[in-house]
């Protein structure tokens, strides 16, 4: 595929917004999916605020028990199925073809279908709120037998089940399309060992998606059949089997919700350090190991069931230390010796690495069954995954946003407003999720609409609820930043940050077929940096 694609002029036009809904341009699909994911983030965030209001004190009675159970189910489901995961895929859909020098994606119609099936799944899932018995309320994981039709009756839970199924199908289609693109549309010279860091994180993520999301589709289909009267998950074996199948998806998904944002933070750090990412080959190998391991740890969610061999999963879960350590080594190696510019994207990226570390270390803690026997189903787990997914991935997400916003829109995001956004978000995040470690250790169970009077619990929960309010303010500041930056545009040009990778070698935003000028020679995973370094060397040699 020639990477210089010169389109012939088209003779007629389809109305702009209608066409953009069915566009086969990967940038449009990525934007559509990303904007919808952001909308769902706000919806899920609203649910979180309602939950935190309920929990601010021991007996607020802000919502009924039933509503609270719907809230935590839908909050988790919205954040996982409709925000963090699809946003990761959307970022990949937008950026990976650019980074690998492709003019377009492979299988564009599959990508269009994938977006629409996913979006429909989100709508179907949320439509449960409008039903008589309410939205899904058996948890985002819907264990049997609680999630069957006798224990959780009503069409809202049915709609939840089908909504998850559709969302999973949609995301699998998007991932398959990205895999095909990476396999078949890399530019001449772009060997797999010259793919940029973000592209590699997306690559292993889509491998995990196609390798595990279809299992969720089957699990949900069988759950729906069970709710319609079939006897699928029968007896105690059915209970364990459901969990084995669900978590075979349920663990890899959290790595899909982590790796691409690690890629965002890595790209932001490298560019802002004026230094290519350190230890690329070790990084690539460790990403392959990391993702293979992530497919092998799932029953650590089942340590207390007595139905699995805890030691195998303690082994695989603790082994995660090795690839994770390599990522941190590479991050430090990139920073040291660099020429660091502390832009907002860099600050968010550093925030990602530091805060994610808290989540990751707590993960190694609970990888030990004896420690997990205390922590499981308590607020320690809630703290752990919010540190990895929110204090980690969402900070990585914002690093990516501040880094690539100029490329996508042609305008800068305001740095000054960005700093306010960052500081508020950091304060709010740690206020909300830090005390949860203490509460969990002291015995506060998760998924409870009310907690008993215990010394200190009311105070800690109040601090957490105030923190959640601060997070909301921070998000509002971000939205304000976007609005201001688009209204009074400060043009960014093609390559405002002196980027390393091919997306910076085209206009902002890129044209329909991505590259109108010939690509620079692809000599490594940082081709633009290679060019600059060679030019500096030649200039030095000439003088």
């Amino acid at each position: 595929m020639s990477t210089v694609a010169r389109p012939l002029p088209s003779s007629s036009r389809v109305p702009g917004w209608v066409g953009s809904l069915a566009s086969t341009d990967h940038k449009r699909i990525g934007l559509n999916m990303g904007l919808c994911s952001l909308f769902f983030f706000l919806v899920g965030g609203l649910m979180a605020l309602m939950m935190r209001t309920q929990l601010a004190q021991p007996a607020t009675h802000f919502v009924s028990d039933e509503t609270y159970n719907e809230l935590f189910t839908m909050h988790g489901s919205t954040m996982i199925y409709l925000f963090v995961t699809p946003m990761a895929l959307a970022l990949g859909m937008y950026l990976v073809p650019l980074q690998i020098g492709a003019a377009r994606i492979a299988w564009p119609r599959i990508a269009v279908s994938g977006f629409w099936v996913w979006l429909a799944g989100g709508v179907v899932m949320q439509s449960g709120w409008l039903t008589e018995e309410g939205a899904g309320r058996a948890g985002w994981f819907a264990y049997v037998p609680l999630s069957n039709s006798s224990n959780t009756p009503g069409v809202g839970q049915d709609l939840w089940t089908l909504g998850v199924l559709l969302a999973a199908v949609g995301m699998t289609l998007i991932a398959a399309c990205l895999l095909a693109t990476i396999a078949s549309r890399r530019a001449p010279g772009m060997s797999v060992l010259r793919m940029p860091v973000f592209a590699w994180t997306s690559f292993v993520s889509v491998l995990m998606v196609v390798g595990s999301f279809p299992v969720l589709v089957v699990t949900m289909a069988l759950l729906y059949a069970e709710r319609s009267g079939a006897h699928i998950y029968v007896g105690s074996e059915g209970v364990i089997d459901y969990q084995d199948m669900f978590w075979f998806f349920g663990h890899p998904v959290v790595y899909v919700m982590f790796f691409p944002y690690l890629g965002c933070a890595a790209e932001a750090i490298a560019v802002n350090a004026h230094k290519r990412w350190f230890g690329y080959k070790a990084f690539v190998l460790s990403m392959l190991a990391f993702s293979a391991l992530s497919m092998s740890v799932w029953s650590h969610h089942m340590f207390t069931t007595g139905g699995v061999t805890n030691q195998y999963f303690a082994f695989t879960s603790t082994m995660l230390v090795v690839p994770a350590g390599i990522e941190y080594f590479d991050m430090i190696g990139t920073l040291i010796g660099g020429a660091l510019v502390m832009r907002v994207s860099m600050l968010f990226a550093l925030g990602f690495f530091i805060q994610f570390l808290i989540g990751g270390l707590s993960g190694i803690f609970i990888a030990s069954p004896v420690l997990d026997y205390q922590a499981q189903a308590s607020y320690m787990i809630v703290a752990h995954f919010h540190y990895t997914l929110f204090a980690g991935s969402v900070f990585g997400f914002f690093a990516g946003v501040y880094h690539w916003f100029p490329k996508i829109t042609g305008a800068f995001l305001r740095e000054s407003i960005g700093r306010v956004h960052l500081v508020l978000l950091a304060i709010g995040t740690n206020m909300t999720f830090g005390p949860m470690f203490v509460l969990g250790e002291e015995g506060m169970t998760r998924r409870i609409a009310e907690y008993p009077q215990h010394p200190g619990w009311g105070t800690l929960n109040l601090i957490e609820s105030i923190g959640a309010g601060i997070i909301a303010v921070a998000v509002a500041v971000f939205l304000f930043n976007v609005w201001v930056s688009l209204r009074e545009r400060v043009p960014a040009g093609d390559d405002p940050w002196h980027g390393h990778t091919l997306e910076w070698a085209t206009s902002s935003p890129p044209p329909r077929l991505n590259f109108e000028r010939p690509l620079p020679p692809i000599t490594s995973y940082a081709p633009l940096l290679d060019l600059r370094e060679r030019a500096a060397r030649d200039a030095g040699a000439a003088s």
């Binding site: 007595g306 020429a339 660091l340 690495f353 030990s368 004896v370 169970t445």
Partner: protein, 247 residues
């Protein structure tokens, strides 16, 4: 049965009872300092890099971008840490799961969980205690004795958690299981259902009164005496476990 059992059986057993809280604390006291140490080192390195290397001209950025021998060595060191942590974990888990299961219990308690109440039955004494949405009768236990809890669920998955003991286990419908716990000190402790089980999951709580063995025997005798007076089921337990277990 498992690799851990093969490696550790007869290696670390003592005559003392397995105390889950002690096993947890031993691991906690190693895992947490290591984690804090790692965190401090990484943050210090990041801070050092940020302070030392910012506001430099871009041309001064170093060109070296890999050190594979160093990374390989580092990976091996990490692997060593993993092996160390796994050794400690497997040893503790063997004690908590396998060794404790082989202790001869001095007391047996049948635990039945159903939405949204706990039924504790002492088969040796014919005593029944109920807690949850039906009311709150404490589970009374003797300290320093191995207590075997037989766990049964009548409907959905529940989970018995006593945070004081740092231990919980699932009650899975159709899959009766047993766990063995020892309370190392007297007191009143909270207990809860830790697996989301539906509408009133948050009300499925209980308390544990851990008393001295002599107080426990005295309590069983007084309970037996009161049972002769045909005590009715606790108030509000219309369709509750209390009735179901009596039929």
């Amino acid at each position: 049965m498992t690799a851990g059992a093969l490696v550790f059986s007869h290696a670390d057993e003592t005559l003392a009872l397995v105390v889950t809280r002690t096993e947890y604390k031993r691991l906690f006291d190693i895992y947490v300092p290591i984690a804090i140490g790692v965190f401090v080192v990484i943050v210090a390195l990041v801070l050092f890099a940020v302070l030392r290397f910012r506001r430099r001209p871009a041309e001064r950025a170093a060109r070296r971008h890999e050190n594979n021998p160093l990374e390989a060595t580092y990976a091996l060191v990490l692997l060593g840490v993993v092996v160390f942590l796994l050794y400690l974990t497997f040893r503790a888990e063997h004690r908590v799961d396998a060794v404790a299961a082989e202790e001869r219990p001095q007391l047996e308690v049948n635990v039945t969980g159903a939405k949204w109440e706990w039924h504790f039955n002492y088969p040796g004494y014919g005593i029944n205690r109920y807690s949850g949405t039906v009311g709150h009768e404490a589970l009374v236990v003797p300290v320093d004795e191995a207590i075997r809890f037989r766990l049964v669920s009548l409907d959905v998955i529940h989970e018995l958690w006593v945070p004081e003991l740092r231990y919980k286990h699932d009650l899975i419908p159709g899959y009766p299981q047993a766990m063995t716990l020892t309370f190392p000190q007297r007191g009143t402790f909270s207990g809860e259902c830790a697996e989301f089980c539906g509408l009133y999951h948050s009300r499925m709580i209980f308390t544990v009164d851990a008393v001295s063995p002599s107080e426990f025997r005295a309590w069983t005798r007084s309970e037996a005496a009161m049972a002769h007076a045909s005590e009715p089921a606790p108030a509000g337990a219309d369709r509750s476990l209390a009735d179901r277990s009596r039929s």
